[in-house]
């Protein structure tokens, strides 16, 4: 990237990466799993920005604090693990979570309900499988064990078909609960379970950002410069409360945007976005 070019806008992907990064506290241990370039970049951004003492565990390699040569499209790659400070084994990472030492995990789903339950296992009834999804890796375990969970999806926006029907990402009910949020598959409150973790505290989407209210229900907190409540409601199957101080999400500073672009020269993270969303850009304040 030409350093002389002044950065005056950011892309949707960069905004989402920044917002996911903001959910990451300094001094915690966090793990980015696999198949999640937006999250991988968010962790590296956080580590280089406000969370220098983050213990960054790279998904699939379990390397700690690596400095990737570049972001690769498949996670278990030496490029992602370059210069890792030390390594965990698969069992050690999950033990850390189970003993309450994984500060934050990042999970997504093809279906996400109002309580933050998610499905990445299968669509259809118990009796009739209509779509087999890839599966959740360790998401089921970590949704219970990680202290906090950041949910993200780049496919919140729905489009009505000719009959006005929509296939929602944010749904009334998950066909299968792969990872648990603030209500179990049986509808019990999270607090009735002996989980270590406190559940999801935000959902970063391509349209805005939800928090969770005291009942554990998703609550809209931020829109983006090109979205609003109505648009978000239209793409969300369930009704949701709106924070009193609903506002527009902050955009990343130019140096952070530059950092993201340096980390991902192949623009792997754009593969998480729809074709249309790859064109969304936001003018920075100072521009």
């Amino acid at each position: 990237m030409n350093k002389a070019t002044k950065i005056t806008s950011c892309t949707l992907g960069e905004l989402m990466i920044y917002q996911i990064a903001l959910s990451i506290e300094d001094g915690i241990l966090a793990f980015h799993g696999f198949g999640s370039p937006l999250v991988q970049l968010a962790l590296h951004l956080a580590k280089r920005n406000h969370a220098p003492n983050l213990v960054l565990v790279a998904g699939a390699t379990y390397g700690i604090n690596p400095t990737p040569a570049f972001l690769t499209p498949t996670t278990n790659d030496f490029a992602m693990n370059r210069d890792a400070e030390c390594h965990l084994s698969i069992e050690e990472l999950f033990d850390l979570a189970a003993s309450g030492r994984l500060g934050r995990m990042f999970l997504s789903g093809l279906q996400i309900d109002r309580w933050g339950n998610m499905n990445v296992t299968r669509l259809g009834d118990d009796d009739r499988l209509t779509l087999k999804l890839p599966g959740g890796g360790g998401g089921c375990n970590l949704s219970s064990d990680a202290d906090h969970v950041t949910i993200w999806t780049a496919a919140h926006r729905t489009h009505a078909d000719d009959l006005g029907r929509r296939r929602y990402r944010l749904v009334n009910r998950c066909d299968f609960v792969t990872s648990v949020g603030h209500r179990t598959a049986e509808g019990l409150p999270r607090s009735s379970m002996p989980y270590r973790g406190r559940g999801p505290d935000c959902i970063v989407t391509d349209l805005g950002i939800f928090g969770f209210n005291a009942e554990g229900h998703a609550e809209l907190r931020f829109t983006y410069p090109d979205t609003n409540l109505e648009l978000i409601a239209e793409s969300t199957e369930f009704e949701f409360p709106v924070a009193a101080n609903l506002s527009t999400a902050a955009l990343p500073e130019p140096d952070l945007i530059e950092c993201i672009r340096r980390l991902d020269p192949l623009k792997i993270h754009e593969r998480e976005l729809s074709q249309d969303d790859r064109g969304r850009t936001f003018e920075l304040d100072g521009a």
Binding site: D77, R122, G135, N141, M193, P194, E272
Partner: protein, 306 residues
């Protein structure tokens, strides 16, 4: 306890340790160090009805599903991440009911393997309850913890019939060295009844000991030297992931089951009499050189992903 002095055998013989209906644990993870040459041989041998267990996998499981070798899958993930997305043969096989869906989760798998390794009937776990995995796994039980009063899930011991692993180095005695993430391979090796291993290279013991023994010999049933045995997945630092070949694979799978047979299974597996023929077909030493020289400069490395 496998203690014979020399565990080397041909690939055909190595793979013949796997029987129809076996519970098979495949080593590696995603696009890293999958025992692909052995899996191709397994398909050539017509081994069927496998019950797969594992964590995050991709082309290995998808290929077995595409060849009709699988009865059930208890993997935690089967896909191509943000690279190509869904695993299409796997998906088809699950959706038609050819493969029974018994998805598991990474830590649940770890705890089940640990139970086997520790000779225990089960291991406790806090998670899983509250999700729908209990429906897929009616064998899991819940108890009230006599210490804390909490409800815990007990997951039964899992002892695969065979663990199939691709490692970097072995000595003749079967000691293994794996460079980089072992994923679940060490757990698989300790928990399984048989452990069969392809390696990039068999080297003298002292050389192996200097590198470090990742898995001690007595767990290992048999070994076979199969250079590039993980292709098209990576076996860093020896060679990178062959994304180009994987793309070809993916597009063959995308065109439907029959086309996958014609365009992939037949040429690359059934019509290849052995691993050497396969390596020729995928581009021979020219292609392999390119994958081996991932580290010559960073631009060249990046080009492998474009």
């Amino acid at each position: 306890m496998y203690t014979q002095a020399d565990k080397r055998c041909p690939l055909t013989q190595l793979v013949a340790h796997i029987h129809n209906g076996d519970c098979l644990a495949i080593g590696g993870g995603l696009s890293w160090r999958e025992p692909m040459a052995a899996l191709r041989e397994l398909i050539r041998q017509g081994i069927k009805d496998l019950k797969l267990v594992g964590s995050a996998h991709g082309i290995d499981v998808d290929l077995l599903c595409g060849a009709g070798s699988v009865a059930s899958s208890a993997e935690s993930y089967v896909g191509f991440e943000q690279d190509f997305g869904m695993a299409l043969n796997y998906r088809r096989a699950c959706e038609t009911g050819a493969v029974k869906v018994e998805d598991n989760c990474c830590y649940t798998l770890v705890q089940q393997l640990r139970a086997a390794i520790q000779g225990l009937p089960f291991m406790p776990i806090r998670s899983v309850q509250g999700t729908d995995f209990l429906k897929l796994h009616p064998e899991f039980k819940t108890i009230t913890c006599p210490f804390s009063g909490e409800q815990l899930v007990l997951v039964p011991a899992l002892k695969p019939d065979v663990a199939l692993i691709h490692a970097h180095y072995a000595d003749e005695h079967g000691n293994l060295h794996i460079d980089g993430p072992p994923v679940a391979d060490i757990l698989f090796a300790k928990a399984s009844k048989k452990v069969i291993v392809t390696v990039e290279e068999i080297i003298p013991h002292q050389e192996l000991a200097n590198k470090g023994v990742t898995i001690p010999y007595f767990y290992v049933t048999a070994i076979c030297e199969v250079p590039y045995g993980a292709h098209p997945t990576s076996c860093y630092p020896r060679y990178a992931y062959d994304r180009e070949h994987t793309k070809h694979y993916y597009q063959s799978a995308k065109s439907g089951g029959d086309n996958f047979r014609d365009n992939y299974l037949n040429p690359y597996i059934y019509d290849c009499k052995d691993h050497a023929s396969y390596l020729n077909l995928i581009g021979g030493q020219v292609r392999l050189n390119r994958l081996e020289h991932w580290n010559s400069d960073i631009d060249q490395w990046m080009q492998l992903y474009e």
